[in-house]
């Protein structure tokens, strides 16, 4: 019982950190939630990803979106155009994942993400 409570508190703490990143950077938070669930809670790969997906089904970003919309920081038209592609692409990617090595893909993606991040930080602060 005490262990379960401790686990729940840990989950809430992880989720809050992911949520802050979500609102601060306009992302879903899954990119942080999946590795943190594996590192902190020891969840398996599929379980962490499935749990991250269910956490992203309710509109968790709605309060953050309202704050951005109030500031005039939402391009509704572009957003609407991107949604169908992401939905279809998600199904394609899910099927593709069955045929290729997801572990290697994740590493390649991590590498690309690191370079992209370094490039963005450099671009922002070089002056």
């Amino acid at each position: 019982m005490a262990n379960e409570l401790r686990r729940d508190v840990a989950i809430l703490a992880i989720a809050s950190v992911c949520g802050i990143a979500s609102g601060l950077f306009g992302i879903g938070g899954g990119v942080l939630l999946v590795p943190l669930m594996a590192l902190v809670l020891g969840s398996g790969q599929h379980r962490a990803q499935g749990t991250s997906l269910i956490a992203l089904i309710p509109p968790t970003g709605i309060l953050a979106l309202i704050a951005y919309a109030k500031g005039g920081y939402v391009s509704w038209r572009t957003g609407l155009l991107l949604i169908p592609g992401i939905f279809v692409g998600g199904i394609l990617g899910g099927n593709l994942a069955k045929h290729i090595q997801p572990h290697a893909m994740r590493r390649i993606f991590a590498g690309i993400m690191f370079v992209l991040g370094a490039w963005q930080a450099y671009g922002a602060w070089r002056h």
Binding site: G26, G61, S75, L81
Partner: protein, 134 residues
């Protein structure tokens, strides 16, 4: 331009399904570099895109296999709802240039975590294989 945006969505979606991660981390830089959006505008638009349950198709597959921890998922949703609101309040007063830089630092951190997760998976797989043999 419309076709380009549709294709960009498709590309981001493939990564979402393939890696089980959110699309925002790809969408925000893409909106900044390809559509020349300001950092705040890209982030707000990304939050809008993530509002509908775009991962529902993928979740169905995980659910069928029993790979969903419902209790943890609900707790995560509650924590993220509150956290995201706090995060957005933090983001508003930050100048776009610095926000872009912080986003870059965040990407590097997430990349390291994602890489380390791959390592843990390797050990876990090896362990479970050893267990099933033993």
């Amino acid at each position: 331009m419309i076709l380009f945006i549709l294709l960009l969505g498709l590309f981001a979606g493939v990564l979402v399904g393939l890696l089980g991660i959110g699309g925002g981390v790809v969408l925000v830089p893409a909106l900044v570099y390809f559509l020349r959006m300001d950092q705040h505008l890209a982030q707000g638009t990304s939050l809008f895109i993530l509002l509908p349950p775009i991962g529902l198709g993928a979740l169905r597959e995980y659910w069928k296999e029993g790979y969903v921890d419902l209790r943890a998922g609900i707790l995560c949703a509650i924590g993220m709802l509150a956290g995201a609101y706090g995060g957005s309040l933090l983001a508003m007063p930050i100048p776009s240039q610095h926000l872009k830089g912080f986003f870059g630092c965040f990407l590097m951190l997430a990349a390291i975590l994602l890489w380390r997760k791959s390592e843990i998976e390797e050990t876990n797989t090896a362990r479970s294989e050893a267990n099933s043999r033993g």
